[in-house]
């Protein structure tokens, strides 16, 4: 294995470490979730500048040390997402997106679909003030579930395959269910069902919207799927 390698990554989280360093949680294009130490980055004159702050998309040279952490040897900005940092709702949604990636994708297996999805989400939040909505955040979460291999069944009853009267959702069954299979489920209205289907069908930039009630049900469906299949508990999307 090479001692140094290059990858693009999004900085998800940054923790102060020692005198002037930071430990970074990165989602990288080439190696999935990785940790790296950025030495001296908290000094005013660090050559990294602010490039290793959360929500930056960067091109990194990483050195493989003996421990679990890589060491950042150089960082070039791919996208600093400057506008989303100036709007409270956008910075909060972007942080939520990073949090979801951090918890859901914790292996060093690369997942290009998830990486691209996260980059697109940050790009959209940076470019469009109206994108920082609850509907958009849920569409991102659902697409992330798909990228991670946990997408719920939405086209037919997850238990028996029935294609009509799908008005409930059961995370343990793995998706929408019919009245005959609704044990352990909760009611999912047709609007929420349509929201889920369209969120997966459309591009992230064209995420559908829906009423608060429908979004609440969609949120619950996504959250229960995450908990049941990925054993991950995320904050609800308010």
């Amino acid at each position: 294995m090479p001692a140094t390698f290059q990858t693009e990554a999004v900085v998800l989280r940054s923790i102060r470490y020692s005198e002037a360093d930071r430990v970074l949680h990165l989602y990288s294009r080439e190696r999935g979730r990785i940790g790296a130490i950025a030495k001296g980055v908290r000094r005013v004159k660090s050559r990294f500048g602010g490039r290793l702050e959360p929500l930056f998309r960067v091109d990194l040279l990483l050195h493989e040390g003996r421990g679990e952490l890589y060491t950042v040897t150089s960082a070039e900005t791919v996208d600093p997402h400057p506008s989303l940092r100036e709007r409270r709702d956008a910075i909060e949604r972007a942080t939520q997106a990073c949090d979801a990636v951090l918890r859901l994708l914790d292996s060093q297996e690369p997942n290009r679909a998830a990486y691209n999805l996260l980059c697109r989400e940050l790009r959209i939040l940076d470019g469009d003030p109206a994108a920082a909505s609850r509907a958009q955040a849920l569409a991102f979460r659902l697409k992330l579930l798909l990228a991670a291999g946990f997408a719920p069944e939405l086209a037919a009853c997850a238990s028996c395959g029935e294609r009509e009267h799908l008005s409930a959702f059961s995370a343990s069954a793995g998706g929408v269910v019919c009245p005959g299979c609704e044990a352990g489920s909760f009611p999912l209205g047709s609007e929420a069902h349509a929201f889920l289907v369209e969120s997966l069908g459309r591009s992230l930039a064209e995420a559908p919207s829906a009423s608060d009630r429908a979004l609440g049900q969609a949120d619950r469906a996504i959250a229960e799927t995450l908990e049941h299949h990925a054993h991950v508990r995320l904050r609800r999307v308010a």
Binding site: V44, S46, E92
Partner: protein
């Protein structure tokens, strides 16, 4: 591997920030070698600081007694409040001799990813202070980090909503003195350009 008292010392030292097991061991052996009075002076200093130094009841800066020296100082304007993350952030601002107002120490920055929510910081205390105080301007001096920015935006919203007569400002950002332009990141340089001034 070591006797229980030595183990205990190593465990306690290893809890300090930036100190790993190995460094903790080295420090423990250093302490075992030092003369008794020197080692006890350290223990005593720790005890004294924990007994005597607490948080100011007004601004949550470090204080000996109920209020810190800045809140007790009549010459410091109560109309101006500078909000910082930690007590240690007060010191560099004081060193500039540019600030004649008071402070409010939040106790950290908002970071949902680390489980730090508004209730975990002294935000409610700040808002109450603005309700019944003479404050005219709040300068948000949280760090120029992503969490610091998120905190600043949150505070600006909360203050505007509750006490609209109070102006909220943010520390300017730009190039640090002594830094090379080529190392500046794009956000810093962009803000420096926006904030340029005539010569």
């Amino acid at each position: 591997m070591f006797s229980p008292p030595v183990n205990r010392l190593i465990t306690e030292l290893a809890r300090l920030p930036g100190i790993g097991q190995r460094t903790a061991q080295r420090l423990a052996f250093h302490i075992l070698r030092t003369p008794e009075e020197e080692a006890l002076a350290l223990a005593d200093a720790i005890r004294e600081v924990k007994e005597k130094v607490g948080h100011c009841e007004v601004c949550f800066n470090l204080a000996v007694g109920p209020r810190c020296r800045i809140c007790e100082d009549e010459r410091r304007s109560p109309e101006l409040i500078c909000v910082v993350e930690e007590p240690s952030d007060v010191i560099p601002i004081e060193r500039t001799h540019e600030w004649g107002g008071r402070y409010h120490v939040l106790g950290g920055a908002l970071s949902p990813i680390d489980g730090v929510d508004p209730e975990d910081l002294r935000i409610a205390e700040l808002l109450t202070r603005l309700d019944d105080g003479d404050a005219r301007e709040v300068v948000v001096a949280t760090n120029a980090t992503t969490t610091g920015e998120a905190t600043a935006l949150y505070l600006a919203d909360a203050i505007r909503e509750r006490t609209p007569q109070v102006t909220v400002t943010r520390l300017a950002s730009g190039l640090p003195v002594g830094a090379d332009l080529e190392y500046a990141d794009e956000i810093t340089l962009g803000k420096a350009l926006q904030g340029r001034h005539a010569l």
